[in-house]
Amino acid sequence: MSPEFCGTLALRVCSTTRHRPFRPACRAGQGAAREGGRRHGPVLADGVGYPALSTVAAKPLQESVVEACPDCDLLQSIPADVVQRTTCHCVRCGARLAAGDQPNLERDAALAAAALVLLTVANLFPILEFDLNGRVQTATVFDGVVSMWQQQRYELAVLILLVAILIPALHAVAVLVRSQLLGSAARGRQRGRWWAVWSERIAPWGMTEVYLLGALVAFVKLGDLASVVVGPALYAFAAMSVLTAWSSAHAAGMWAALRRR
């Protein structure tokens, strides 16, 4: 490491400390970060210089792990023992760093399987049932797509088909496949990597939780026109939203399974 860089990083850490109360880079577990009265904050990769960075620096090294913050690009180093136990956050902007992620492929697979079951329910049963003077109409998610198509709003039909049905289903399938492959031998992991990348890429475009709110607004809007009953699919969507939030909170962990080879 160049002495110049060492100096600037030291300055950076010091000035952060001066402006605000010291914010440990590692928050999860809380206790683990302050073991034995010693602060495991961000430390300088002092003296030793950079470890041999042939491919990835996130492997546990002898002393510390060098990490680039995904959000602000601050280079920081974290003691290796801290990385193994806790989730680490950037000192400067608070973003979550990759170091410290723990793989839990079984949980990923279980959540994805549950999501697939719920998606089946959400697509087979009506979201809302509508009764106007004895004339009953029901609508599933796919009915929404078909009626949009029939009314010549093709772009909206395709959009809703993608974000409310296809992408959530593909995402659940991809998570299921990747968690099977990533846990297997080296060749399987190569293919698992492809599924993992694509599951991450499409994840932001699945909008089941937004669809749930849209259905609730439709429910309220129709309330004055006729009597409306909530269908089973709405509950399935509600459960889906919880599952999605849960699994996306832990999505980063699976890369740890690939980083450790």
Partner: protein, 207 residues
């Protein structure tokens, strides 16, 4: 491009934007490819500022027809009542559905405008190299990145109404062209938020 001395980019390292592994560039094979997830890696998103400007301008242009044209028409006994985004909210409020009216107001009016204004402000701040309130600007970016998807509420609501209310002359809901423009606004602001590289905020402040 000149990167600040404490940035990973200055030292030939970068964070893969898919798997967040720290990667040194270029890796042994010469490909700029992440060794963990095999995705392409860049020091910064390519042409981030230009792409974000283009997508934001698209959103601003689409926002005008999205508000002028009806998003849906409720036809009751042969007479249609076109609803724009604003009039839909007014109707909800007039019926006393205040929580839902506020929800739709936030999702359909506040969030898209906020996203466009904030992204334009962030782009200007990057291009002018502001050093002012970096952490707050980074948080603002994360906030609009998270809330953007919620604007789709109106589009989903219309699709359910169109599917549910099909009673011929008695009551029918017809989707309007405004809904398509509104979906275009939401999509292009979502793409704009993802093409904006947050690291440019920190880079430009250290010129």
């Amino acid at each position: 491009m000149n990167y600040p001395s404490d940035s990973a980019a200055r030292h030939g390292l970068t964070c893969c934007h898919i798997c967040h592994s720290t990667v040194s560039l270029p890796v042994a094979s010469g490909h700029w490819q992440c060794p963990v997830c095999a995705a392409r890696v860049h020091l910064r998103h390519p042409h981030s500022v230009q792409r974000t400007w283009a997508l934001i301008l698209t959103a601003v242009i689409c926002y005008i027809p999205a508000n002028i044209y009806p998003i849906m028409t409720v036809v009751r006994f042969g007479r249609g009542a076109p609803d724009t985004i604003a009039s839909g909210i007014v109707h909800l409020a007039a019926e006393g559905q205040w929580p839902i009216a506020i929800l739709v107001f936030m999702a359909s009016i506040v969030v898209p405008i906020l996203k466009m204004v904030v992204l334009i402000a962030l782009l200007v701040s990057v291009q002018c190299g502001w050093r002012w309130r970096l952490l707050e600007r980074a948080r603002l970016y994360r906030f609009i990145d998270v809330i953007g998807r919620w604007s789709m509420i109106d589009v989903f609501m219309i699709s359910i109404l169109v599917a549910l209310v099909r009673l011929g002359a008695v009551a029918t809901v017809v989707p309007g062209v405004g809904a398509a423009f509104f979906a275009a606004v939401v999509l292009s602001t979502m793409f704009a938020a993802s093409s904006f590289d947050e690291r440019l905020l920190w880079d430009s402040a250290h010129e």
